[in-house]
């Protein structure tokens, strides 16, 4: 019974829902459409529980860090404090942002912190480009030249100095980049299809926890 619940039943459910979802796409019958509507509601409910699981996992990881005084455990404490304060203020404000403490945290903490994190990237990219972006091989040289043309042609000053830079950058993005990206996309898609088939037919079972 335990083996059935742990292995056979999930495999059966995966097979049934996998095949049904694939077939549903090609059968626009009202019954099939109604089933999709119902399943989309289920999926959102399941995702809600996944969010709870994610929060529990986050708390567990950071609690373990604080308990063992692992390197950077102070940051884990900050995670706990900020999460608890935000939840408490959010509940107090009844989830409303306009003129509440919750809105203040959103505008003056979250917005500012996330903006700062992303802005700092610009500085690190410049520093990394100076130290690592070198024509050490023919391939690296091609990449370097393409990057310089795109950087030059994608800003008004570059186009002002050399008017052909803009269309040239556009050509690199539209033709060379698209060709390479399309190859990658086709590869990813074929891999996705192959993995899906393996999961539906129970060949790939790692989602069960690594046990056969």
């Amino acid at each position: 019974m335990t083996l059935f619940l742990r292995r056979t039943f999930p495999l059966l459910l995966t097979f049934l829902f996998g095949v049904a979802a694939a077939l549903q796409y090609y059968i626009p019958h009202p019954l099939s459409e109604a089933a999709l509507t119902e399943i989309s509601v289920w999926l959102r409910i399941i995702l809600g529980f996944a969010m709870i699981l994610g929060i529990a996992s986050l708390c567990h990881v950071h609690y373990a860090k604080i308990r063992t005084r692992a390197a950077g455990w102070g940051y884990s404490l900050v995670v706990y404090l900020s999460m608890l304060v935000t939840v408490a203020v959010g509940l107090w404000s009844r989830g409303q942002e306009e003129g509440t403490g919750f809105g203040w945290i959103y505008t003056y903490a979250l917005l500012a912190l996330q903006g700062t994190m992303f802005s700092i990237l610009g500085f690190f990219v410049a520093s990394a480009a100076f130290r690592a972006f070198r024509a050490r091989s023919k391939e690296a040289a091609v990449l370097l030249v393409a990057a310089l043309i795109v950087m030059f042609g994608r800003v008004p000053l570059g186009e002002y100095l050399i008017p052909a830079a803009g269309p040239l950058a556009g050509w690199i993005l539209n033709v060379l980049n698209t060709a390479a990206r399309r190859g990658i996309l086709i590869g990813i898609s074929l891999g996705g299809i192959a993995t899906s088939i393996k999961i539906i037919f129970g060949i790939e079972r790692s989602y069960l926890g690594g046990r056969d």
Binding site: Q114, A126, S127, A129, R136, L148, L157, G158
Partner: protein
Amino acid sequence: MRGLAGKLLHLDRRVIFVLIALATLIPLLRPIGLPVRISPEVRQVYDYIESLPAGSVFLLSLDFDPASKPELYPMAVALLNHAFKRDLRVIGMTLLVTGTGMAEKVVSGVASEHGKQQGRDYAFLGYSPGGSNVIIGMGQDLAAAFPTDHYGQRTTDLPVLQGVNSLRQVNYVISLAAGTPGVESWYVYGKEKYGFELGGGVTAVIAPGLYPFLDTGQINGLIGGLRGAAEYETLIGMKGKAVAGMDAQSATHFVIIGLILICNLFYFLTRRTTIRSFGSPQGRPGSPREAGR
């Protein structure tokens, strides 16, 4: 000469940070206002909105959080200005919970500038958990995916949503995204099945990855990065934050181009000596460790 080049290759990164800061700040304080060339992919979005008759349903999904605000917020402002100017019925929403407050602010802010009334001329649905599943849910039954809007009003009672039961009745969707869920999700789970036209507005980092979708017609236009936002502002005759930021972006790009050229010049000047100086592959100029210094 080689000695000097070798020293400059190990330039303190704080000097580079200062250069970037100056290249950003000075043009913002003293803008030049260089003209922005309009690319075909941005014009396609503009032309499509222009072709929509008044009263058409335009859905703007603001699928980004504050980290991508500098690039995508000006895009949202420009698109909303255009849509309200064209008297389209605007539906705003987000697939990212951390973007909700920001999305609400931009939709209601631009709407009030045009004298538009919430519920009658536009709706802000807010956030619903589920990512891509929300798109499927909206495609099947909009009221089931969003029983109420962001302000707690029943979506079935909103005049602006009369006749809009699902995504099938939406004329144009634009996803402003910085990742997943975003433009690809709207295509795979939305446009492909429910048949609306789709455009994209994304950060400069992910824009190159969407060009294949543009050429195949899976998306009808693409606004990429701050540059794309500046182009859109130019098209609608608006001097917004994107146009203002383009001089700073020009200067920053040129500083980075200069740094790359200098670094390669020094690299070729010191190549022989560095091979002797940096015996271990870990410490060689250009290695990941070196890049992180």
